[in-house]
Symmetry: C2
Subunit: 192 residues, 2 copies
Amino acid sequence: MEHSESKIRIIHATLDLLSQSGLSGVAINQVVAASAAPKGSIYHFFPGGKLELASVALKEAGQGEGQWFRGIFHRRESIAQKVELLFTSAANLLEESEFMKGCPVAAVALDLDRDSEGLRPVCREIFTMWQNIIAEGLDEVPEPERSQVAELILAALEGALILARTEATKEPLLRAGRTLGESIGRKFPAAS
Amino acid sequence: MEHSESKIRIIHATLDLLSQSGLSGVAINQVVAASAAPKGSIYHFFPGGKLELASVALKEAGQGEGQWFRGIFHRRESIAQKVELLFTSAANLLEESEFMKGCPVAAVALDLDRDSEGLRPVCREIFTMWQNIIAEGLDEVPEPERSQVAELILAALEGALILARTEATKEPLLRAGRTLGESIGRKFPAAS
């Protein structure tokens, strides 16, 4: 029991560091400091070291954020409302972190190099899972187009997170969500 | 003359490293190795070290990519065609780099922490400049809405670059450009 609590603390500390500065932000010593876990326990739980730890933490975030997407896109609302809600809640989360923590998957994706190539499929699977969850909630969009509209929503969200983090305000996310929601809503009006 | 050639090589090497793995990818020793410039010359040209070097390299990239945006958005084409062209040429550039080099400004923005806070205004100014250049070319969009549509285009581009880099294919950029171009084009048809 004690072990699994340490493990959870280690994973959460890693995720925090990944969200702040990507893979480069995750050094075992920083995880030790942030999780208050003994250094030995990190290698005990994650014998693969930093990359294994990052992989487990990303998958955890992937599941958690997937639930969040599902909660939004399974609502009985218009596509424009769902998109706006997605961007607004992302803006609120970013603000809560004082604009320091973005999407950990995007942060890792932009740090991928030869040494961390093993994390590419992890990032890809998470993005695909999120895209599928969004696509399932796009009732107004004809089936064959759902996947690409979901991909655009995810891309715009990730990009607007970068702009909002850079400006340290919620506005880029709020504006992008509104403009995208209206544009897609116009293209795919609700069946009446 | 020799000095200024070294300086240019140093800036380009820094930009390459920033585009690959953000700020964490830029260590003075790596810049030395990649630029074949003597270590002393780096501190000679950039007494502020890594952060000054990153700032100069980002501004250089900001200007260069700004020209590229201008070339696309000053064309006499529809908004949908311009957006598609933007995403297609970004996809081609990404492919040329073997999917290793993304947008250096986004990569730095996601690495910002207390130590690199000084680069936040640099990133912000570049994003704003790009957004303004795009906005100027959105002839079909009513003046008061141009800025937010330009911001959405930039956000979607940055996000699709992340998805395409993760998948190591051009497709996410090509699809997002097409879907976004069509959606915006539908919302803002050409005045006839």
